[in-house]
Amino acid sequence: MRYLPLTPADRAEMLGVIGADSVDALFADVPPEARLPGPVPGLPHHASEMAVERHMAALAAQNLAAGAAPFFLGAGAYRHHIPASVDHLIQRGEFLTAYTPYQPEIAQGTLQVLFEFQTQVARLFGTDVANASMYDGSTACWEAVAMAGRVTRRSKAVLCGGLHPHYVATIETMARFTGDQIDSRVPTLSAEPDEAGLIAAIDAATACVVVQYPDVLGRVPDLAKIAAAAQAQGALLIAVVTEPVALGLIEAPGKLGADIVVGEGQSLSVGLQFGGPYLGLFGCREKFVRQMPGRLCGQTVDADGRRGFVLTLSTREQHIRREKATSNICTNSGLCALAFSIHMTLLGGDGLARLARINHARAQQTAAALAGVAGVEVLNHAYVNEFTVILPRDAREVVRELADYGVLGGVSLGRLYPRQPELSNALLVTATETTTDQDIHALAAILGEVLANAHEGSPT
């Protein structure tokens, strides 16, 4: 077995030192009836590297990779170009095979990266501080709702209609068990988000208002207006960013009054990976720092007075505070944070702004092409790289038919909102810097064909 260095001679010698007759004697505390006499039945035995690689490659070949098709999916997971240097650097063993930096003297590499990452996230979000990452955007979002409850000592969360339904579901799951009250709504197919309706739902019992920016339909809510309304009632505004590239173009939520900003960092070099691992981003006002969930890296000095970094404020965390911790999170998304941080370093603020412009231009080009398809209407007045189109029939069917033509044409709202028939003709379409002219032409042409052949089914 190529991963096991002990030889039979080593094992015999070590048993001699231990004073045991056999390895089985070391399992003496396991009751005999629970000890299996041999390998677990019904499972194959070991395999060579080549055989395993062949098996895994065969499974991979059964998937239609985004890069192998005209690709327009988003809805919380975005396909962007990953610079070659990023994937190389995160595979350095000193990053890849290190643990959580609990021994700071020999983890300054990871710790300095985390400090740089926290600073990048805080500046991107326009918040005072940011943490060292969460699992993903959806779990960061419910952690923010829980934190708002601790800060305000209230238990009602008002969710905007444009919040990603998986995020809504995650929050509602937790609320079922914590007893928090969740006031959520589904989006309506309007060109602008319903800010008046949202603001009307905020009252003196509201702990937080959760607003996605841009929202799940790609629309851009007026955060400043909602922030003012929330704060007038003593509630916090939680802004949710599922596409950080958008912040190269539109104003940082913290600058518009958001008290907590959470997000999904997957866009910057984490990759699509069928949904995980992703990267939860979490920033907030400095005055809330002791209520934050997750790890924090802070600057300090060593015994010689030299600058260094440590994990800090750990009295918030489970390994110290146990049942009184601000969160149960332990392992987070360290390596994904490294990838994000390297990509952000390569881009810089100007690069991010230019990348967002390119994304927006590609989306405009895609929207224009789709608007030219008979029966298709673009919903949004404002969007960055993702927008909604209304089709003449159920978008779920259309997505499946497009896939049969080898086109991954978008995310149907029916997939996201199966109980909302009024949304079922809507399709979310995303374009990024990876989208080519040919991709756009293929989408428009094949969509036109699919819609024209409404009742003929998919090609054989």
Partner: protein
């Protein structure tokens, strides 16, 4: 003369050197010991290491009022500068690739590179979670195949694949328990947790809305069955047990504990962080467990990455399986495995407690874990457990004459060896020995955990350490134990031979500096 350093970054200079004269370098670097400033000190506004076209298309009119006033204040670096920055930083880290990393309870084993290679196949790395399911059959196949292994290895009924790490898995398990109890109209409010448990256990129980009560350990480091049984009653929803436990011992009474909890109407959660000790040897399902998370980043070797990502699938008993979160992999009558989502849950998985996170879980970890599992097979995984336990017992018996091992007299340990600082000279503690280990070129063991042992040192060598590597580690440990017993002052100020000496954690917490200030 050295130029004054205005960056706020103070490189190492001055100490050491021959014949009394300190060796001073102008750069602050010392040979291969390289210092590295922050990107905010190195980078420049306007610099970009990615070639991007200039676009001057006007934005859509509706967006104009939302545009940001200025680009984010983030410095950029070109590719060569970026590669150098992170490569230099990486050299300030210890890692499994450099040597033993015997952190108890963390299972820092070798991370096979095949797993990295397969996870990067475009068919896995470059697929979107919301693609039509018929375009991602292979991804669903990976989930199904891994699920089959996890269920079979543990002897359980089903597995929830979506939890994102161990603590998230604990939450999943407790929410299944809570949903199952609510479904039978039973509003129990208490979760019992042993004193020796990981901090995530009580934190999770509290997050799931339960009141947490501790149960004591016996003098030999196991759950006190009598005390536990005495506390059981109609208010106890669940007991969370770690097995093997955090003292590195198998809970001999596990089946009796499960039976007692079940007959009192409660359910049994097992923290599977230490599954590596028994994988392929013992099926937790045979011990009456109702739910157990498996840290794929421990037992199944997905890389820890400096603190994640992890993955924490939860195996479930038949009683809990109907409540598992969405999405849930289910084999249909046609033999095809589908991911049940919100759309078809009312028909196929109606009692699910709901969704815990967006999308389908840690796919990138599933591919790595499956490659690891297939490489070992059922026979190799059994060997993994045996070698892990053998290595730990070898360490235990090679050190117990010099280091107090509180539970060693009672018999063998499992995959980790536990010591205390009893017998050290006055004023010397576990921390000093741990920092001395850093100078010896090793990562320290887990320290001050579990809480039930004073000055605990928990050593988990894992099965991927060779005997020669263990002998070197044992040699260093013996020397350090002697120095700690003798009160060697040099140990008190360790580490000396590293990029940074002991760091001032009090100062870091008193007035936290969590971000670099904008110029």
């Amino acid at each position: 003369m050295n130029a004054p350093n205005v960056s706020g970054w103070r490189p190492a200079m001055g100490e050491g050197g021959g014949e009394g004269a300190p060796i001073v370098t102008t750069s602050g670097d010392r040979g291969l010991s390289l210092e590295e400033p922050l990107i905010f000190e190195l980078g420049r506004a306007g610099t970009c290491g990615v070639d991007l076209d200039e676009v001057d298309t006007p934005v859509v009119p509706g967006l104009a009022r939302f545009l940001r006033a200025a680009p984010p204040a983030l410095p950029g670096l070109t590719e060569p500068e970026t590669v150098r920055h992170y490569t230099r930083l990486s050299r300030q880290n210890y890692a499994i690739d450099l040597g033993p990393f015997p952190l108890g309870s963390c299972t820092m084993k070798h991370n096979p590179r095949l797993n990295e290679k397969v996870a990067r196949l475009p068919g896995f790395a470059d697929i979107h979670p919301l693609q039509p399911q018929h375009t991602v059959r292979g991804a669903i196949g990976v989930i199904a195949e891994l699920a089959h292994w996890l269920v079979t290895l543990t002897g359980m009924s089903a597995v929830a694949m979506t939890p994102k790490a161990g603590a998230h898995g604990e939450l999943c398990g407790l929410l299944c328990i809570r949903a199952a109890l609510e479904a039978r109209g039973d509003a129990r409010q208490v979760v019992l947790v042993p004193e020796s448990a990981h901090g995530t256990n009580p934190a999770t129980a509290a997050f799931a809305g339960y009141r947490v009560e501790n149960i004591p350990a016996t003098a030999e480091g196991r759950v006190d069955l009598a005390a536990l049984t005495a506390r059981l009653g109609p208010d106890v929803a669940a007991v969370m047990i770690t097995n093997p436990n955090t003292c590195g011992l198998f809970e001999r009474d596990m089946k009796a504990i499960s039976d007692a909890v079940h007959s009192a109407g409660g359910l049994v959660y097992c923290d599977g962080a230490n599954f590596n000790a028994i994988v392929g040897k013992v099926r937790p399902g045979d011990l009456g467990i109702d739910a157990m998370h498996i840290n794929l980043h421990k037992t199944f070797s997905t890389p820890h990455g400096g603190g994640g990502p992890g993955s924490g699938p939860v195996v479930l008993s038949a009683a809990l399986a109907p409540f598992a979160p969405l999405p849930f992999a289910l084999r249909g009558p046609d033999g095809i495995i589908r991911l049940v989502e919100e759309e078809d849950a009312p028909v196929h998985h109606p009692q699910s407690f709901g969704r815990m996170a967006a999308f389908h879980g840690q796919m990138g970890m599933f591919t790595r874990a499956l490659a690891y599992i297939l490489s070992h097979g059922a026979d190799g995984l059994r060997q993994v457990a045996e070698d892990a336990v053998l290595n730990a017992n070898y360490v235990l018996r090679s050190l117990e004459d010099l280091l107090d091992a509180p539970f060693a007299g009672a018999g063998p340990c499992m995959h980790e060896a536990l010591f205390s600082d009893s017998g050290f000279a006055e004023g010397f503690s576990t921390l000093d020995l741990a920092k001395g280990l850093i100078d010896e070129g090793f990562h320290p063991m887990t320290v001050y955990f579990p809480l039930v042992v004073h000055g605990a040192m928990l050593i988990e060598p894992t099965e991927t350490e060779s005997k020669a590597g263990l002998d070197r580690f044992i040699g260093s440990m013996r020397s350090l134990a002697e120095r700690a017993r003798a009160g060697d002052p040099g140990l008190k100020s360790a580490p000396h031979l590293v990029p940074r000496r002991r760091l001032d954690e009090t100062q870091a917490a008193r007035k936290p500096v969590l971000v670099w200030p904008e110029a």
